[in-house]
């Protein structure tokens, strides 16, 4: 005969929560606990699971072109806003070119810029600088392009990326920049397409 145990609350011998049911919400464990799926076991989701997988993903771009080297890139940022775009989670915030993460975690960050010049620039590069103390920034990613003189407008791009382990959103930050040998080089910007854009994806909790 099948036995049925009816209870809303199961606790360990010390009174700590193991399983609790309240108003159709079931809570397993408590903050600080580790819930282990044993080897060989399967955790399957046949409904809706929130908080799993990618919880933060965002993309921003520069709307207006500029000439010369700039870092941090302080102005003319916009979150991508075409019909096919949507962010996941809270999203990034930026102030004076310095980017703040919405929550702690391990993030993948990508920064791309397109350059144009009628002339020659030996280099045109993008870079990402990070800080762990909200003060001292160090260049952590860089990618070079160059444009030869072909007596007409020519283009190149730089794209660099990094992981940043955000353990403190008040102190772990970054900024983006461009640097060009020929100061007449333009970094392109556009409000309808990603000529120069930054991508942020939270991969996991902070490590």
């Amino acid at each position: 005969m099948t036995s049925i145990l009816k209870a809303d609350d199961i606790q360990d011998s010390s009174g700590n929560n193991i399983i609790n049911e309240n108003a159709n919400t079931i809570t397993i464990g408590a903050s600080g606990d580790t819930i282990t799926i044993p080897s060989g076991a399967t955790l399957s989701n046949l409904g809706t699971a929130s908080g799993f997988g990618i919880t933060e993903a965002d993309m921003w771009r520069i709307t207006t072109e500029f000439q010369g080297s700039v870092g941090p890139i302080t102005a003319n940022w916009e979150r991508c806003d075409e019909d096919t775009f949507e962010k996941i989670g809270t999203g990034m915030s930026v102030s004076s070119g310095y980017w703040t993460f919405p929550t702690t975690g391990l993030y993948y960050v990508n920064w791309k810029a397109t350059f144009r010049l009628n002339g020659e620039t030996q280099y045109a590069y993008v870079h990402i600088n990070t800080t762990a103390n909200n003060s001292s920034y160090t260049e952590r990613a860089i990618s070079f392009g160059m444009i030869p003189n072909i007596s007409a407008n020519a283009y190149c791009h730089g794209m660099c990326d990094l992981f940043i382990n955000v353990t403190d959103t008040a102190n772990d930050k970054l900024y983006f920049g461009t640097n060009v040998q020929n100061s007449s080089t333009y970094t392109l910007g556009n409000s309808g397409s990603n000529y120069a854009n930054a991508t942020f994806i939270r991969l996991a909790g902070s490590q």
Binding site: T63, T64, F66, G68, S69, T74, A75, R116
Partner: protein
Amino acid sequence: MDINGRPNHIEDYLAQLHLGQWFGWSDSKNKMYVNLIIHDDSKSKPTEQECTDGLATMQSDFDTKKTNNANNRTSGKAKLKTGEALTDAEVEALFG
């Protein structure tokens, strides 16, 4: 600016006035003069007429340069066939 580099918007004129991100748009979907904003207080805001005239000059310069380049390529090729000396402009048009 179109894909060939011909200026086609006052942003092309503004971007070459000063280095850096000295200007932007209050509505980046409507890049009209009325929406022009200046980020750098050390830079003055050009008038709408200056923007319009500046763009027209850039377009004229671009077209003239393109025409001259095409002419120099044509004349340069002809001189190469006959062994005549090339001008500097023809050398640049042919070989960069």
